[in-house]
Assembly symmetry: C2
Homo-oligomer: 274 residues x 2
Amino acid sequence: MKDYKTEEEFLKDYNPNAFAPFSVTTDILILSVSNEVNTNYRKLNEKHFSVLLIKRNNYPYKDKWCLPGGFVGEKETLEDAAARVLETETNLRNIYMEQLYTFGNPQRDPRMRVISTSYMALVDKNRLRDTLGENASWFTLNIMEEKDSIDVILDNGNEQIKFTVGKSPRHMTTDRDDFTILKNDALAFDHPLVIVSGIERLKNKIEYTDIVFNMMPEYFSLGDLQQVYEIILGKKLLDPAFRRIIANKVEKTKKVKTGAGHRPSALFKYKGKK
Amino acid sequence: MKDYKTEEEFLKDYNPNAFAPFSVTTDILILSVSNEVNTNYRKLNEKHFSVLLIKRNNYPYKDKWCLPGGFVGEKETLEDAAARVLETETNLRNIYMEQLYTFGNPQRDPRMRVISTSYMALVDKNRLRDTLGENASWFTLNIMEEKDSIDVILDNGNEQIKFTVGKSPRHMTTDRDDFTILKNDALAFDHPLVIVSGIERLKNKIEYTDIVFNMMPEYFSLGDLQQVYEIILGKKLLDPAFRRIIANKVEKTKKVKTGAGHRPSALFKYKGKK
DNA sequence: TGAATAGTGTCTGTGAGACAATATTAT
DNA sequence: ATAATATTGTCTCACAGACACTATTCA
């Protein structure tokens, strides 16, 4: 390698095409919790996990569903690109987002070599005016975890999408991020992996961070909050235990939720980190 | 957008240069634990966290230290690229590795737009024959965690490198991956961020996975193992508590370590996940 | 009144933190 | 004998799991 004397000299001589060019995209996993309106006036509204998907209208994977995504602009941060995609699909800004994983298999995209960094966004559905992007639709997430695999069923009322992801422990260790697609008909690219790793991440982080509150409205009842925990963790929690855990994260307000055929619940707000 | 009838037709028409090309690199954080030979025959050898760094011999950041890294090949997986870099620098294969984070700020590299996916590798130093790559050197890691920042001092015996990163809680949540460089003289690129997020990741994962054993030799004493935990977690542990935690992860062997001026310790091996 | 949820009290067992006590080696 | 670590025992306290009990609302 030639030994340059100054950085300017080096840059002047530098050929940016000396290395193979890649395209870089972001995919964004937008998760939320939906309120299913219930028929029984006494019962609580059942909640569901939901993901926003887009129907592709061109190749590759034409007519398949996929996560919202797009190419990263030349002067754009990865995160800015993800936020931009999020905004075009949901009309929401200032949403909690975190980077998930970067996929870069050479065969990912038949068009060319693509590196895709995925992000996870958590939104409170109450903030959504029904201004979804074109071809976008919320799908309910149904997750069944087996010993060595995870089955997922997505449903938007009209269509059902199913896929299965295998958990593949790496080397001698447990790398939770490591999954492989076992069955997948209807979802484009490696997006099943993004969905599953996002959910796993959320499942872990709900226990040691406060990210759940990004999916909650400003005022919420502890019953509602508990339901969200239960959906994410995939299991029922005992009331007293749950209340103990979140006691110092929330603050009781004077507001009350009435209207249902049972004792009204106090509304709480997120207190922030102490 | 034109509506193509078949995928072939679409691909034929597709121009891969329609979007800005990026270069993609990997950086690899190679962590290990070193045995400092002690003068007192009674005392245990002190251990240190250590990282492998490379001295850059060209621009940008000429003569600064950096993490081993390189461009991702055209037909190469991100992970394969990281493993290749790892092998050229350490002559080791089949090392535990996991993806850390992808950095892609437009100003990362003065040469061109670069996206860099970082990996963390954990190695057992006993497996190393002194076949380090050119310009490579192990640095001892000294970490001091403050309330809002983390100070790090790297030392290879000749040189000292210091930097400070800030912990910046994002939005209303705790995203542990999110750091900013506050002070940094001698380390190239955004590598301080990679180092700090790798350590944080390791700190977390040591509690709920078995990745530590990737840094251990086949046979080890519980005292040695405890020292490694203590270095990673940055605090002393109580013997009985530690033994309870790892009891079902290890298996006692008939081997014994003698030679020091105190009771010999039994050697254990990793039992694998139950 | 009854179905359904809201909210609290309390018992029990597990497990971490803390400290003490014993065992074993090389010089 | 002594310094140093290895290894085990045990007490206490905090806290999660489990269950029971009371409170309150609307049709």
